[in-house]
Subunit: 213 residues, 3 copies
């Protein structure tokens, strides 16, 4: 493959992974909705919010309005499909927990890397791009949990946000060193996804502090 063919191939892979990530994030939202006994509409809202909420927050904050998730019908369609599937077969989705969690790790990596790239394209500096890359990855899950009146899992559970930080950090580092885009993107996704998968397998967690008496 020529370098250009390689970049096109990577681009295509990223689009597919982005849609896969959207689907898997939407499954997580729908499952929370079913467990909270929301009605069909509520389950679909949670699917869409979990899948697209992070990107919508990012786009609104950087001024990329209207947000991509509201302009491209595929995001809505994929979220609805995941929501309907879960509504109809929540038990099956539960049993596929392990493959879903692995695909979720891939989605996290793609979202964090794509989010950091888009933030840079809109003029954010290194710190802002890392924060918005992370927010793209974790924002949907946070909104999902807030909507069912629970403390976002990402604030207290396994290593999750740190993996998104790592993926976004690779993008920012790559730009600072003027490295070519394609390998940087691949490295960012691999870093985030790998770190997340390790964290799941090993049960890595961040420390908590002892609250004052």
């Amino acid at each position: 493959m020529s370098p250009i063919d390689g970049a096109v191939a990577v681009g295509l892979v990223l689009v597919v992974l982005d849609l896969v990530g959207t689907f898997v994030f939407a499954l997580s939202g729908a499952l929370v909705g079913v467990r909270q006994r929301l009605d069909l509409f509520g389950v679909l809202v949670l699917s869409f919010v979990a899948a697209c909420g992070g990107g919508i927050l990012r786009d609104t904050m950087i001024g990329a309005t209207p947000p991509a998730a509201l302009q491209d019908w595929r995001y809505v369609a994929i979220s609805m499909a995941a929501g309907l599937l879960t509504f109809w077969r929540a038990g099956a989705i539960e049993r596929w927990r392990n493959p879903v969690q692995s695909m979720d790790a891939v989605g996290l990596g793609v979202f964090a890397v794509a989010g950091a790239l888009k933030a840079q394209a809109f003029g954010l500096g290194p710190v802002g791009a890392i924060l918005l890359g992370m927010l793209t990855g974790i924002g949907g899950g946070m909104l999902r949990d807030v909507l069912v009146a629970q403390v976002p899992a990402v604030l207290k559970a396994e290593l999750y946000a740190v993996a998104a930080l790592a993926g976004a950090g690779v993008v920012v580092l790559g730009k600072a060193l003027s490295l070519p885009l394609t390998p940087v993107v691949v490295a960012g996704v691999v870093a985030c996804t790998g770190l997340r998968l390790f964290a799941i397998r090993r049960g890595w967690r961040l420390p908590t502090a002892e609250p004052p008496a």
Copy 2:
């Protein structure tokens, strides 16, 4: 009436209904605030958020900044009036439950239709315009419930969001068929309000799924 006079009359009616909707949505926010024993400031915040939160979310997402509700003092004034009235006479507002619920259905229709129109004017496609029309109608109530740490009623109770979807859908369909604006707007408001009133009277609900064991 000439067609132009008709359009002006419909426009005037819409402005009045928009302000009536703002007042009634604000009553719903204030009642939640009083029941949660918030102080006077908290009750006024919930009034404003319930009345104007959906429009503010829409305007922020489509880049129509600053949001209309922050530029036009009438929205703030009407929200405050509804909040003070409820603070002072919560029992009376409770007893007027039925007329308030009927006016709320009218407000829902006006908000959903106006939201879809504004989203189209800012370049959103059909899917985005329907979603944002719906969000204009239900977003304030969702924010109201999130602020008192409860799962938004619209995600699990009677048919409400579907009525907003129908109203916004009529607007999008009318544009796709290049129909004249005035009858489309009237049809959208009537469709949403009528569906909502039927849903209240018949107790229509969306199905819920059985959570996995």
Copy 3:
């Protein structure tokens, strides 16, 4: 001092107070995080949200994107420093409750005044500028509480938002009367901070209403 030297000196003082306010607001977020037994990441998120959330909401709503807090690394750095300090020494921060509360009152005044000024600079009228000044002061704390699934303290506790309203109101009044900027800013900060300190000392609260049976 010449008038220009005076304005420069006030400007410098405001920058310092803004950073102090950021630090103290971040302490409040971190303490909530530690008490809710969030992990290190969660504590840092709450620090940042409490310190910068109000400004981010304001900037997003007025179209000043990307928000200042994501473009200026000092806000992130100061929030992280406050979060780490609290994570490591939550007990000590608790014991410094009184000085922290006094500095928080200063931060509230600076945020409310700066928020109202920025809103005016982006074309908001008097009502919008007062609301956004207040939101700059209280929005971070509200987001902090929503993220841990609690009703925002500002909606039901001591006089807090009213102080922010007063500070923002002085700014709007000063513009309406075409008064020179420097004394108006000083008066706004003093009004808000003074009112808040009095409210703490005297235990001033707003009234609540009796919920209907």
